[in-house]
Assembly symmetry: C3
């Protein structure tokens, strides 16, 4: 997330109620999670294991729970609880705004776009031209939808990331300030759920077609011209490259990459990154030919064992 | 789909902007996909592999991308792109009509049927007597619902078929003109999705009970008195015969038949047709007893191998 | 379900059109399914196999299809069809009330709770303080929601139990009169479905976080501070103890208990109760380490067999 103007380090320190290391006027342009940080951004880190990663990331301002040496050209925000104080910034820069009507007055809807009855469109949503939004669709605040997009009924775009920190007294939620971005010519089936990015975008690439009841979690990026069949679930921060085909009920773990033109057969469970241009199935998903051999062998196994035991 | 009146071959040729082979006044009664064609129908074919199938089907008019010999008693529509020109006919005969209100004035709703708040009912929908349609249900245009039907919240009937043709520049959608037909005494759980047929009907047979989050794709026919548990997914053009039981999270591929009184256990993946009166499980789904043996053997395998290798 | 006042055995006999064994004024406090009966309750039983269980249960009044000896201190209701006559009582004590508006006038909504547009809230629903109910959520009659609860769009709380009796002429539905109870600090994702109890409560414990597209069936009790990932399905009458983690697409059969702090990995199928403090996966779900060994062996199997067959 980028701020609407450049803030100073001092201002950010006041908003987040943290100490700072750096020049009062050190410029701060936005805030982002470690996966998607850019120069000018604040990132947060609260575990020594990840200190180096955060300090050496592209982020220019590191909110951290230890007074470490400040890398050259960067600044620090010292907090006894960076998770909590990063949330403070989220609340300040993207406060939840309840709706006063089903279609927000700040939403921009393009020419020839049809919005059917009982649709909810949140604040600052942008929808392009020639789209068709079927009844009972929900589009949370700040989502961006291209031209010639079709969204079927009951689908929900922009729900919060499923992202919690375990505390002594329960789970603490990392507030989501990101967006869902749906590019041109996408079609999304009925009762799909696509969560917003934590601070960045969950993206559905141009021309991709998604069947009913598909779940796509926060910060996942789906490439162009993919086919995603019904009841597929894709966890957060994964990358599905262009022209990938995922058949029904496939599950994909978080943080992996599925290479271009890969095909994952029905009900497979993907637990690591997969190369493109290949066909996969099984749990954990592997090369389809190998898996078929295993299955065939498993079926013949009783007889093989019987023979060997003689 | 049948047309509202008999059209002439010449009229159809003009609407679809195709050449024709046959008498100007050759009667045309409707248009259908190859799975469900009937005499009087137009069917389309654009791949030499399927020419014979289309020409020998029950269809009387074949839209085809080659000047072939016209079978006796039939007519041809010659098109350089039958997929595109079949869509032209769909657009002409079933244009999408946006809604001016949540419950269409053309919808017919039977006596004693309760429609709860925030329900969408499209154009020409027919709902029988003594039904209960819970809040936030969406029923797209032209769906037909019998008597004594209960539909729970968030369910979507009549979404488009997930059916695309890959082109150089992306996916081209086959427009759906079919319907969902729900027979008497059916109950459908919450947030289910049942897509309309491409040109024909997706049917839920009399007395069948469907749990929450079930997906049923285009043109699939579910028999009478089936039980379908939660999160089952059934792909397109499949036939589930009477009194079949599908337990939770079962997945069924397109184009197969599940025989009468078959039982498919939870999470099974059905990849081919299954005989009736048997119990199945596993992936790919097989006879449950055989599969249990395989599982038992797999558990004992480490010890068996160890013994054999001595 | 407890009645609003104490009824007499005679009154209940008249409402249900059954004969009774016991004192006219024998007090009757409520009615419940066998899983959740308490003293003062009516329970029903219609199969000799379960007679003893029902007669010896905590229920004080047994609706039964045979004139058996009445246990001391209890009463009987003699019915030729207890399933039907139990339903008669359900209809009498909890008749379905159609809604005259999207948010029932009898609903109680706490301070600072935000209800977004297009939400349905049924009769007698209670929602606590500081909750956020996103658009297009459906909350059926009588559900109870605590403080600081977030419910995302498209979610449905309180649908009917998927519970039928097979009759000669089709399925007969057991009417649900229970509730969904969501405790404080719960977050529920988008398009989840949580069914009401048949006569008791389906409960989501304090601080539990549920991702999108999760299905939780009737009478299941989820403990405190659980994490339930997307597309998990939990069948009826199961118990998920505190701090359990269920990863994506897990399926859990009815009537089992998952012990405290158990972790079930993605896509696993749980077919029996599992001890706490362990990690599980596979179908049927077993100790993760054992299952990994089986998978590794399966992958090596072709070579092992080849070697052994030499």
């Amino acid at each position: 997330m980028k701020f609407s103007r450049t803030y100073t380090l001092k201002e950010i320190s006041q908003i987040s109620n943290t100490q700072y290391v750096g020049d009062d006027n050190f410029p701060v342009l936005g805030m982002n999670e470690i996966h998607v940080v850019e120069p000018g951004d604040i990132v947060f880190v609260d575990h020594p294991k990840y200190y180096d990663k955060a300090l050496q990331s592209k982020a220019t301002v590191v909110m951290i729970n230890k007074k470490v040496d400040c890398p050259k050209g960067k600044a620090l925000l010292i907090s006894d609880d960076p998770f909590r104080d990063f949330n403070k910034l989220s609340l300040y820069f993207k406060p939840f705004q309840s709706a006063s009507q089903a279609i927000a007055s700040t939403a921009k809807i393009g020419e020839n776009t049809v919005i059917q009855p009982n649709v909810f469109i949140g604040n600052n949503v942008v929808i392009g031209k020639n789209c068709l939004i079927h009844p009972n669709v929900t589009i949370y605040d700040n989502c961006i939808i291209g031209d010639d997009v079709i969204i079927h009924s009951g689908t929900v775009l922009g729900g919060d990331a499923f992202y919690y920190k375990k505390r002594e007294n329960g789970f603490d939620k990392l507030l989501s300030t990101g967006r869902v971005v749906v590019e041109n010519n996408v079609e999304i089936g009925a009762t799909c759920t696509i969560d917003k990015g934590v601070t960045g975008d969950t993206t559905i690439g141009k021309g991709t077609k998604i069947d009913n009841q598909v779940q796509i979690a926060h910060d996942t990026v789906i490439g162009e011209e993919c086919l995603i069949a019904s009841q597929v679930g894709i966890a957060g921060c994964s990358i599905i490259e262009d022209e990938v085909i995922l058949w029904g009920q496939v599950g994909i773990i978080s943080g992996v990459t599925i290479g271009k033109k890969a095909v994952v057969l029905a009900q497979a469970g993907v637990s690591k990154s997969l190369d493109g241009n290949k066909v996969y199935f099984g749990y954990p998903a592997g090369d389809a030919k190998e898996k078929y051999k295993e299955l065939a062998l498993l079926r013949r196994l009783p007889k093989i064992i019987e023979k060997l035991e003689k």
